[in-house]
């Protein structure tokens, strides 16, 4: 996957993104395991993914 590389906002590790990464996509940091959301593509910016307000099941 010759995708883009982003930096994990938590532990600054390199996070490989799929070539056709989509805005809003959720990826996981390979180092600290944090769930990250691709906030925007240009400029490429990541942030911790929000908790799902899971109200379907509970």
């Amino acid at each position: 996957m010759s995708g883009k590389i982003a930096e994990c906002p938590e532990c600054a590790a390199n996070v490989a993104l799929p070539a056709d990464v989509m805005e809003g996509e959720i990826v996981q940091c390979p180092e600290c395991g944090l769930e990250l959301e691709v906030l925007s593509l240009n400029p490429l910016s990541l942030a911790q993914a929000p908790e799902e307000e899971e109200d379907w099941g509970e």
Binding site: E52, E53, G57
Partner: protein, 267 residues
Amino acid sequence: MFILKIGGSTGINYDFIADDIAALVQAGEKMVVVHGGSALTNEVAEKLGHPPQFVTSVSGYTSRRTDRRTLEIFEMVYCGQMNKGLVEKLQSRGVNAVGLSGLDGRLWEGKRKAVIKIVQNGRRRVLRDDFTGKVERVNTDLLNLLLSAGYVPVLTPPAISYDGEAINVDGDRAAAATAIALGAETLVILSNVPGLLEKFPDESTLIRHIPAQSLDKFMAVAQDRMKKKVMGAQEALAGGLTRIVFADGRVENPVRGALNGAGTVIE
């Protein structure tokens, strides 16, 4: 007093249902009607060049992708053609129906899910421009105002968020919330199947009776749309209802049939 939920899937016979409601109202029965409109919404969305998209949440539930344009089409079908079509059928049979959406008078109010995490062909994504949510408060004052003046409320999504935005909500669970808020005992849910089927779509495997306390075991049996209906039933029971009936909306006397136990009775 009971709540009647009428599904929006193809095959449901609205004339049979309207005839039955008229007979019940003439016999002095009080009720609130809730209806859907999913099948027609898909058709119209297709024709208007904004085909319906369904998204599956990370925990496996499918729901309609509701961006702003979808919401407008949703309102056109649910609040326009379906709601007023049903009100017209009832009025022409002498039932003084009043059609309202959850927006009107903040009838159905709840939190908008500002963030939804979905899975699409294996990839997870956050959706922020989705207008869906869940009914958490029901304006029973407005409903009782209309009921005591002799009107039959005919309710439809959308609901309204606490910030006053229209939000798409599941009709079955909104019906359950309405039943709880009004203190009704019975909720009848009519759809295009005879009830909960052990082996969908084999209609001979109709489950006739489910004791309320063991409803959870049947969640596994329920197929996609029926899953939401079973969840609505769970919430209704937890909220104090004593009787929920899933019945067939394609046959004659569907409402009285259901009240007399035809379909899947949960009590």
